[in-house]
Symmetry: C2
Subunit: 478 residues, 2 copies
């Protein structure tokens, strides 16, 4: 069990300076730099994309499209009203890649706040049993954590790029090596950051015949969606030690994130297979159907790549996709949505109510009522924002080109959820959007990226103590 | 403050027999009779509607349509694949009216369980402050409550029928009095039970020129959506007494139900005015626009009457309508949906999380964590059922007539939410449904009516005590 003395001993002046970056006001983190940082990056990116050097010969970019692509890249969403393979020059595509990378690092930095706040709360709470399980995390220095996070990003992306390059060389004998390397690097970063951008005119449809290439992308996407808190936990989980006190344990965070992710991946794959069997998967061999269905399920949370034509998908797949995109990936990861752990807490809370238990329990741990309330709040706020976005798009696209598509209103709803969940899949609506519609989608992308992150950090701060305590009164529901 | 002795004194043998109807097993209510009762009524109704005498000359009813109409009537939903004014004879329409009335009384009977359970829990908890506020309710005999409920239904419907008859005579001089009386009675019952059935081929569009007729319908619909718990509270709220101990108080239940209902009505009216100003309300005088918008907002929760063509409504109105239909009316009322009080509890819980307060508080009262969990559970279960229903309909209606309508998939989603919320508004999809689609909608209507009611009663029972108490562990969300 940790005592204040232990903590004090492990804190050095350098650590305190580091912590002050995240917690300037009375040790509460200041959230404005995160939002402002993303905003500044978006504006700089839009400016860079407007440079003539960024455009391919014979193409030009409007201001709104530059803002759209920049927002989409920084928020690692992947929606785009233009085909970046055709409209942007090599320099323009490099700008997009840089924005994706900085956006991803911004997410990592913001996620460190969550780790810090988690540490502090534990040390204040003196909860022996739990503190012991991640005692090593407690003693880790912030600077060390930051280095570890950046190293994880670089390692994953390098390994991914190497894998893709190796495979691309094998399937494209005689192709330009530099070109292949560029393709490998771009798609590795885009996949790990869950951005979903591609520099091929037809997207990853080009690679859909090669299950190995798709698998590498799958692995990168899943790694990027794991979340920093679980990565840090795994860092201090010395599974090879026999003594449990030396070994560390998997935190509830890690177990919830992994379980929900696995369930959503398997469930999403099976549902896609079932729903698309006679639609976009029709006539393909079984192995390819499974590869594509798994790729689609992985992509829905929340990479946004596609190997089949989303506009041709069965409406049932799109509706199910709305749910998967809304849940998204794990907290503190490149993924968007309300997050897997939020979903798990909501599920556990509802299950406790159904079993008429007093405490919310999952995996042999108790979740306090406040965590349930926060999860509910995130869910309600997200639903409200998406709902408002859908209604706004109904207005901007009423009798506009986007509403002339065959499944138009379902496509518009899909677009809003995809933007909020920073997924980037589209049923073909994006290029048809009106100017006002593009602004709505830009707002949804930005809010969807920043709001859940900020809410989580803001709410992880300690509870205010209130002196008033009202009488309890029962109400009947249903 | 109530003591056990007080309660014992007020309980007579007759009361205990009454209570045993609702609570056969160890004082826990048995829920099966409610579900089975509704099911039996539906089957009997479908049988009656299949009798040749129930059909208008030259018309016939298929088995699936009879089952559909019977379910819709018993569950007071109002969706119908046929035009009951043209397809059914006077006898057939009387069968529908009878089914609506019995369905409504079934809801009242089931709601009494909630009142009973509320009483018992309070008396066990000895919560002085709250018990005093509804002390009179505590002392009321179950038989008296049942008589009061039935009296309230009869009074409201009689007064409504009288008002409609008086107005119909004024605007239809020289018309057949018996015919007008039948119209008044049918629509009064249909409105108070929130059923939404009409015996006019064009529905209440016939009355849309008369704001007075629409207002009477509005009042009946709102009264039917108040909920038995609040009605009983108002019964014992002797507002004319000066001494607060003699007067009784408005319970939190009543205040939440009234506040949310008022907000949804006003918000719904304003949004409908705004969204439909240039659509279905275009070119009408201001007074009529307001009358129609208020009527639509009232009808969305959850009567299901319409005075403008729903198929011509702006998609934004339909999307907003999805939300209002999902929330529905107040617990223990004729209305469907997850209920106003459930919505209020979810909102209060989310607000407490955002304010970083430990307790969920609203209107000077504390709501316990278990109530929040139950509200969350009802919301999640409802969303899951609606989602599954939508996906099922996407399959049954794929490339079927219903998918040929202009806003088809939005219409199909609207249909599913309308069925689950027992609203009965339709964007024109109902008559186009396939056989399988009709079965899905029938299931949604039944589940939407019975499930929230049963869940609420089941969950209002006391919490199980568990001996294990796991260690608490924090997780990060967002
Ligand atoms: K993405
Ligand atoms: K109805």
């Amino acid at each position: 069990m940790l005592r204040p003395a232990d903590i004090a001993r492990t804190l050095t002046l350098r650590d305190l300076q580091w912590m002050s970056v995240f917690q300037p006001h009375r040790r509460d983190p200041d959230l404005r730099p995160v939002a402002l940082g993303f905003l500044a990056l978006i504006l700089v990116g839009a400016g860079a994309l407007l440079l003539p050097a960024a455009h391919a010969a014979g193409h030009r970019l409007t201001v709104i499209d530059a803002l759209f692509v920049s927002t989409s890249a920084v928020c690692v969403t992947g929606l785009t009203p233009i085909n970046i393979a055709e409209t942007l020059s090599g320099f323009g595509q490099a700008v997009v890649l840089t924005l994706i990378q900085f956006g991803g690092l911004g997410i990592v930095t913001a996620s460190l706040m969550l780790v810090m706040l988690g540490r502090r709360r534990l040390s204040l709470a003196h909860e022996g049993a739990v503190a012991a399980t991640i005692g090593r995390l407690q003693r880790a220095r912030p600077a060390e954590l930051f280095r570890f996070s950046c190293l994880a990003v670089v390692l994953a992306e390098t390994a991914g790029a190497a894998g893709l390059f190796w495979r691309l060389r094998a399937v494209n004998p005689g192709a330009d090596q530099v070109q292949l390397l560029w393709q490998a690097v771009f798609h590795a970063v885009s996949a790990f950051c869950n951005a979903g951008f591609s520099i091929f005119p037809e997207g990853l449809v080009r690679w859909r015949g090669d299950a190995m290439l798709l698998s590498i992308i799958d692995v990168l996407v899943i790694l990027g969606g794991i979340g920093l808190l679980s990565l840090v936990n795994l860092r201090y989980f010395r599974f090879w030690r026999h003594d449990p006190r030396e070994r560390g344990q998997l935190t509830l965070q890690t177990r919830l994130a992994a379980t929900v992710s696995a369930l959503l991946l398997v469930g999403g794959t099976l549902a896609t297979l079932l729903f698309e069997w006679h639609a976009t998967l029709a006539g393909e061999p079984l192995g390819r159907r499974i590869s594509w269905a798994f790729f689609h399920a992985t992509s829905l949370r929340t990479a946004g790549f596609n190997v089949v034509d989303v506009t041709l998908m069965h409406p049932a797949t799109l509706v199910l996709g709305l749910g998967l995109m809304f849940v998204g990936g794990s907290p503190g990861s490149m993924a968007g949505g309300i997050k897997t752990v939020t979903f798990a807490v909501l599920f556990a809370t509802a299950r406790a109510a159904l079993q008429r238990k007093e405490n919310v329990e999952i995996f042999g741990r108790r979740i306090n009522a406040r965590t349930s309330a926060i999860a509910l709040m995130i869910g309600l706020v997200a639903a409200t924002i998406v709902g408002a976005g859908v209604i706004a798009l109904m207005f901007t696209e009423f009798r506009a080109p986007a509403s002339a598509a065959p499944d138009h209103w379902l496509g518009v709803i899909f677009e809003a959820v995809s933007a909020f969940g920073t997924v980037g899949l589209s049923a073909g609506v994006t290029p048809l959007l009106t100017m006002a519609g593009k602004l709505v989608v830009i707002a949804l992308m930005f809010i969807g990226r920043v709001a859940p992150m900020l809410l989580a950090v803001y709410l992880a701060r300690p509870v205010k103590r209130w002196h008033t305590r009202y009488a309890e009164e029962q109400v009947a529901l249903g």
